[in-house]
């Protein structure tokens, strides 16, 4: 039962270090003894069939769930038990499986919201919102290719464009770690590759560690530097894409057959 957790070796000092993470709901072990690490500039894909524990892992990392036991260190700092807001302040950006943006605000205002929050400027009662941090917002929008739509309200955008706006918002606090929950779900195949290319480029250029879950195997094996595989709450494999592709356990999980 309790085989030693699979350690995934990394070369540099990790941005995120997760050690022996456990979470149970009632009698069900949703996440069991999961350990991994991500370095700056690295894209790590977390994959596994439905119910493998990916979402639970994500929700613990972003502070929505507290782990039963285990360590989570962000650049050496213990983040277990911190609220989503506190974790964001430490430099963790997020995108959601189903996009979450402010529909009645324009694209630029959405990004400015994140920038104002990062700058601690939200409590002003009489200043006009949107006059400050405009260039910064436009720079972020240019990075994700949304500058030409800056004036449009988010409520009318196409889904793929919303994903880009989310990415720009997630980058607003100059994150060290980016958590992307199924970043390409609901997008056309061409858009998927483009979005992940963009994420990879930004991660490398700004030395951001990226952890993402994904169901599209072309995206996973094409874009991730490393892959970890979860099954029924446990880490069953990890390594470079070609290693994982040839791993017998992974093949068994995805293709069925004997363990």
């Amino acid at each position: 039962m309790n085989a030693p957790a699979l350690q995934v070796p990394t070369l540099q000092t990790p941005v995120l270090q997760v050690d022996g993470l456990h979470k149970a709901f009632g009698g069900v072990q949703a996440v069991e003894d999961v350990s991994f690490a991500i370095s700056a500039g690295e894209l790590l894909a977390m994959i596994g069939p439905n119910g493998a524990g990916k979402s639970t892992c994500f929700n613990m990392l972003n502070g929505q769930l507290a782990p039963d036991s285990g360590l989570m260190r962000l650049e050496g700092r213990d983040v277990v038990g911190l609220s989503p807001r506190a974790i964001w302040r430490l430099g963790v950006g997020r995108t959601f499986q189903i996009t979450a943006t402010f529909a009645s605000l324009s694209v630029r205002e959405n990004v400015q919201m994140a920038l104002y929050s990062h700058a601690g400027k939200l409590r002003g009662l009489l200043a006009r919102f949107g006059t400050a941090l405009k260039e910064e917002a436009d720079a972020l929008l240019a990075q994700v290719g949304m500058l030409d739509q800056a004036e449009r309200p988010c409520g009318v955008l196409a889904y793929g464009d919303l994903k880009r706006v989310e990415l720009a918002m997630a980058l607003a606090n100059s994150p060290r770690l980016l958590l992307m929950d199924e970043p390409t779900a609901g997008m056309a195949p061409k858009e998927r590759v483009a979005l992940m290319d963009l994420a990879a480029r930004l991660a490398r250029a700004q030395k951001i560690a990226v952890l993402f879950t994904e169901h599209d195997m072309d995206v996973v094996f094409g874009k991730a530097d490393r892959i970890i595989v979860l099954d029924r709450g446990r880490l069953i494999a990890g390594g470079r894409p070609e290693e994982v592709r040839n791993n017998a356990d992974v093949r068994a999980v995805y293709l069925g057959g004997v363990h």
């Binding site: 964001w88 009645s104 939200l122 919102f129």
Partner: protein
């Protein structure tokens, strides 16, 4: 308190619980399937009482005719429910939920005046139930047989409805629709028929609840709002959509109320406490406690699937300076070119405009619906009056302190309210407003109780009509300008962000609840300013300033003008005050006329007047382009 009298009070409580349960069960059923919070449910109860009164008179005083009268009254009310559903609600199922609320409120007004027209304004005392006029002797106390029968009715009806829901195809559809309305529609079920039938059953239950009270309670015209408040509390305490929850809550509240009456004045730890005074408050205290401990009620579950209702609210546009200046100029010269009546009306309008704008501030951009905004309006008015008359402070000081006192209460109430959302939040605001109202209503030594306070006049330099007119315009104008300014500030945008997507807001470090709380306090302060300004213009103040109908007036103003626009609440307040004033002088039935106007607007302009005009203007421009 002796054991027998305690027992009698317990049984009394159970008797009251039965009717309360019947109304609440109907409300809960209708909400579950149609997602409409039916403000008119208390009116249906009231109709049940009146109809039972007339039917029993018509049919004669035999046991058979009594019960036939009660049953027929319930069926007749059910038919009224069907008419309401088919004529009005069916047209607005796709409208925003606030508009549905406004429509049901219009129905309250229409039913009230129709009842007034048919039955008159006198309380009608019904007959006792033939064959059940004897009383039982319980430990030396007497309990009417009819009351004992009523105790049984609640659980029996629960059982019958339960059988209907679990053993019929109709029941299966109702349960399915309660879980996921769209899915049931997608499976090819005729929603219109289902909704109509649910309305029939829900309305008939309310009618039955009313009709059964005929031997115990005189039929009167105030029942509609008092019963709906009780029914809201019961459904929320029990959990929206849970019938056993409604019964449990009805019993809890019925018993708590009669125990308060039974205990009377008792000394606890050396303090004399008059429990009978708590009767008006106790249910709201229970509701507050339950909602904080169990946000979805005793037996409720988190709300069912509700899919996003299409488009997001449009971005707000700030007012243009030329338009604003034109209005200011008009208001400055208004008293010079018109009579005192117009100036007095404009003072009223200005105060209600600030009240409506402050309500819109939390309803629109912050996304928190309040059914109890009058609490802060009333608190501001009373704070000014009490500081002036009881503390002997100068008028200017009383006036300036009043908004801060209203804000202090908003700090307290808001802390609880922002922990909830949606209908539950609305109900909790109603609870706090009702607590405030009953404290004001009962604290004779401080507030003069139900008589209200008189002689609240402004200082000498403000005592002329035109001086007070200009002061009102300045205070209310600045208040409105301040709230509008805030909406375009980082704070206001943060509120809108928190409304649009709480998930995203938290993920970029925004403390959504904290901002909502602060918004609550700002809105409370401004409502308080509106209240104290109006109080000093009238020279008197009565508890109705903090009443449910004052709260609903505010809602109507905001919704009439349009919740998604900036100027909507001001237009709504102006139109409401002017119409009410004008109609009240023309006809005794101004409420019904007003209700019809509201219904017309709701059906024709689902975005409110200002929103609707904007859409029309847009279409006209497009057609020319």
């Amino acid at each position: 308190m002796t054991l027998p009298s305690l027992l009698i009070q317990l049984l009394n409580g159970l008797t009251d619980a039965s009717s309360l349960f019947l109304v609440s069960a109907g409300l809960s059923l209708i909400f579950g399937v149609t997602r409409i919070v039916n403000f008119a449910h208390g009116s249906l109860y009231m109709l049940g009482l009146y109809m039972a009164y007339s039917l029993i008179q018509l049919l004669g005083r035999t046991p058979l005719s009594f019960w036939a009268g009660v049953i027929l009254a319930a069926i007749a009310v059910g038919v009224v429910g069907v008419v309401i559903e088919m004529l009005v609600l069916r047209r607005i199922y796709r409208a925003p939920e606030l508009f549905q609320l406004l429509a049901t409120f219009a129905i309250v007004l229409i039913v009230k005046d129709t009842t007034l027209y048919i039955w008159g304004s006198e309380d009608l005392v019904g007959p006792r139930a033939p064959g059940l006029t004897m009383a039982f002797d319980i430990l030396g106390k007497r309990l009417p047989a009819y009351d004992l029968l009523l105790i049984v009715v609640g659980p029996v009806v629960l059982g019958l409805v339960w059988l209907l829901l679990t053993h019929t195809r109709w029941g299966a559809l109702v349960r399915a629709a309660t879980q996921d309305r769209e899915m049931v529609g997608a499976l090819g079920v005729d929603q219109a028929k289902l909704f109509t039938s649910v309305f029939f059953v829900g309305a008939a239950l309310a009618g039955l609840g009313g009709a059964l009270q005929i031997p115990r309670e005189p039929a009167n015209l105030d029942l509609d709002l008092s019963v709906i408040a009780d029914a809201f509390v019961v459904t929320v305490v029990g959990g929206l959509g849970s019938l056993p929850g409604a019964l449990l809550a009805a019993i809890l509240i019925g018993v708590a109320k009669s125990l308060c009456i039974g205990i009377g004045t008792t000394s606890i730890l050396g303090f004399e406490i008059d429990f009978s005074r708590l009767v008006l408050v106790v249910e709201f205290v229970i509701m507050g406690v339950v909602l904080v401990l169990r946000p979805y009620g005793l037996l409720g579950k988190p709300p069912a699937v509700v899919r996003a209702a299409g488009s997001a609210p449009p971005p707000l546009t700030p007012p243009r300076w030329p338009t604003a200046l034109a209005w200011i100029a008009l208001l400055v010269i208004a008293p010079m070119i018109s009579d005192d009546y117009i100036a007095a009306l404009l003072i009223d309008i200005a105060c209600f405009a600030l009240f409506a704008v402050s309500l819109h501030f939390i309803m629109g951009p912050a996304g928190m619906i309040s059914f109890g905004h009058a609490a802060y309006f009333g608190l501001g008015a009373y704070a000014g009056a009490v500081l002036l008359k009881r503390a002997g402070l100068p008028m200017e000081v009383s006036f300036l302190l009043a908004p801060f006192i209203a804000a202090a209460f908003a700090v307290l109430y808001g802390w609880f309210c922002v922990r909830l959302s949606g209908v539950y939040l609305a109900m909790l605001t109603l609870a706090f407003a009702q607590i405030t109202w009953s404290i004001v209503f009962q604290w004779d030594s401080l507030t003069s109780g139900s008589n209200g306070m008189v002689g609240i006049w402004p200082a000498a330099w403000l005592s002329t009509k035109s001086a007070y007119y200009y002061m009102t315009m300045v205070c209310c104008g600045l208040g409105i300008a301040f709230l509008w300014r805030v909406l375009f500030s980082p704070f206001g945008f943060t509120l809108r962000a928190g409304r649009d997507s709480p998930l995203r807001a938290e993920a970029i470090g925004i403390d959504v609840r904290g901002f909502q709380w602060m918004a609550f306090v700002l809105a409370g302060a401004m409502a308080g300013l509106a209240g104290v300004t109006l109080a000093f213009s009238k020279g008197s103040i009565s508890p109705s300033a903090a009443s449910i109908s004052q709260s609903t007036d505010g809602l109507v103003m905001v919704l009439l003008g349009g919740v998604e626009t900036l100027t909507g609440p001001v237009v709504g307040a102006g139109l409401f005050t002017w119409l009410r004033d004008g109609l009240a002088r023309e006809t005794d039935y101004w409420r019904a006329v007003f209700g019809l106007i509201i219904l017309l607007i709701v059906v024709l302009f689902p975005q409110g007047l200002v929103g609707g005009l904007k859409v029309l203007l847009g279409r006209w421009r497009e057609s020319r382009a």
